[in-house]
């Protein structure tokens, strides 16, 4: 336990009569990538919201980098090093790509021109420097997803929560974006990623976790996890899945 970056102990969250997250525990190591899959409504995004501070769990405990962050707000967690992307990407309107990335950079240092320089550096590192001056309204979906990741990275996170960054992309774009994830990990970041495209997650994940009805169905080596009969049953039993 002492070695893990993030440690989640039995967190639960209820909305009215619905148990969105029902006792999930997880340990995430440094520079580890864990893919999270599960049918629609399995509580994946709710789980992320508990980790990023959008929701406070009803019970359970979240420890990050050795500190208890269970009840802290999203901004504090982001400052501690929990970055996240959103399922529906919404770049800041009326601002260029570089300006979008400057928003988190300005949190710790109010120097605007310095933030701009850092933003350009980061965009260069991620290979999207050519987009810097593009207004976000003119970006394609794949580009917007990359900007979303760049923006989250600008908070200099130790942990990055990626919520369906591949959703809505065609297979060529998936191939384009996927290496991005490993690039990010190589910068020293641990990653939890929610994805629907199982084959894509398997490719980059060290371990996989399957959620269903707010509970952990299986967790472990990707190859083993997808052969787990419980997992297969959950997927076959669910009509909404492709």
């Amino acid at each position: 336990m002492g070695n893990s970056l993030l440690s989640v102990e039995n967190v639960t969250k209820r909305f009215g009569g619905i148990q969105a997250v029902g006792g999930v525990s997880l340990e995430l190591g440094h520079q580890e990538i864990i893919g999270i899959i599960g049918p629609n409504g399995a509580g994946k995004t709710s789980f992320f919201n508990l980790l990023s501070g959008m929701f406070i769990p009803d019970t359970g405990k979240v420890t990050f980098d050795g500190k208890d962050i269970t009840g802290t707000d999203p901004a504090t967690r982001a400052r501690m090093g929990v970055g996240r992307t959103f399922q529906v990407v919404r770049p800041f309107k009326g601002m260029s790509v570089a300006e979008n990335v400057m928003v988190p950079l300005l949190v710790n240092d109010p120097g605007v021109s310095k933030a701009h320089r850092k933003a350009m550096e980061l965009l260069g590192d991620l290979g999207i420097a050519q987009l810097a001056d593009t207004p976000t309204e003119a970006l394609t979906l794949a580009q917007r997803k990359r900007v979303e990741v760049a923006r989250a990275l600008a908070t200099e996170p130790k942990l990055l929560l990626l919520d369906e960054v591949l959703a809505g992309l065609n297979s060529r774009e998936v191939i384009d974006v996927l290496p991005f994830v490993t690039t990010v990990r190589d910068r020293g970041v641990s990653i939890l990623m929610i994805e629907h495209i199982v084959s894509a997650v398997m490719e980059v994940s060290d371990r996989m976790m399957v959620l269903d009805h707010g509970k952990v169905l299986a967790v472990g080596d990707p190859q083993t996890v997808i052969k787990d009969p419980k997992v297969i049953e959950a997927y076959l039993g669910s009509d909404e899945e492709e």
Binding site: P74, A75, F92, V103, P104, L106, V107, V112
Partner: protein, 338 residues
Amino acid sequence: MKKLSLPWIIIPTTVALLLPLFLRDQYFLHISVLILIYTGVTVAWNIMSFGGVLSLGHAAFFGIGAYTVSILYVDYGVNPWLGILAAIIFAAVGSLVLAIPLLRLRGPFFTLATLAYVEVLRLLAIWAVPVTNGSVGITTPPTQGLAYISFESRQPYYYIALAFTLAAIAISIWIYRSKLGYHLRAVATDEDAVRALGVRTNRVKLGSLLISAGMTGAFGAFAALYFFVIEPDTQFSATLYSIQPALNGIIGGMGTIAGPIVGAIIMTPLGEWLRVTFSGASQGVNFMIYGAVLIIIVRLMPGGLVEGFRAIARKTRRGGKGRGGKRSADAKTTKEGE
């Protein structure tokens, strides 16, 4: 990171500075002072629009400013210049009542709360006779001189108003390009996302409220001295100082730097003309036209004049290659994707 284009700052400023030398007509100068006051209030109002927040509470801050300077001057003999300083502080403190709705309510609900606050202050100003002199209002002393911001001619008023307005514009530009401005503009799109990036959005929103209210208080105070007489129904008039600045802002372009300035310069003389034309038996018609304009304008050009000019400029520059059309098509897809 666009550079400020100097000609766009120097030319209008010079024109504004030289204007009274060429046009000595007092009525014209009066309209010009009104334009400057409205420009200032609209620019102040617009600072909250950077964050996508629509306030209709600025008549409250305007009125607090007016009452602060007048009460301090008349009852306590405080010099009006100090009074204006106090007006800024009181208006900012007075805006804190709206901090609770600002942080707890979104969109239309906050806007309604701000409008209600104006009405509440108007009623309080009528009720608290010992302090405000009730419906009768307060008249400031006629002592003239720069020290008392009271003059025979309108020219000195013009220059003081111009100084205030230029300061307001400078503050607005500075905020827009600073850390606060970046965070506000981001909040306008998606507050949750901004929070997840480590920004304490409550502070950002509160900051914009306090600055915007304080600036409005200064203009309320100046206007009180300019008009000599203040009374609740005028100084706390939602139509005059909440809806009018918002209308200026929306016509010029909400959340942009130039929008509120353009809007106030166009709308103020128009409003004055309507008011003079429809007085007496047809009272109310001028504001009926305002209401109708509001309904029509948001349908015809929701982006305001500045956005319209930009679109035209883009088209002419690109020689009609249809690039502008493509961009708006993209913007549409973005909207639907949300």
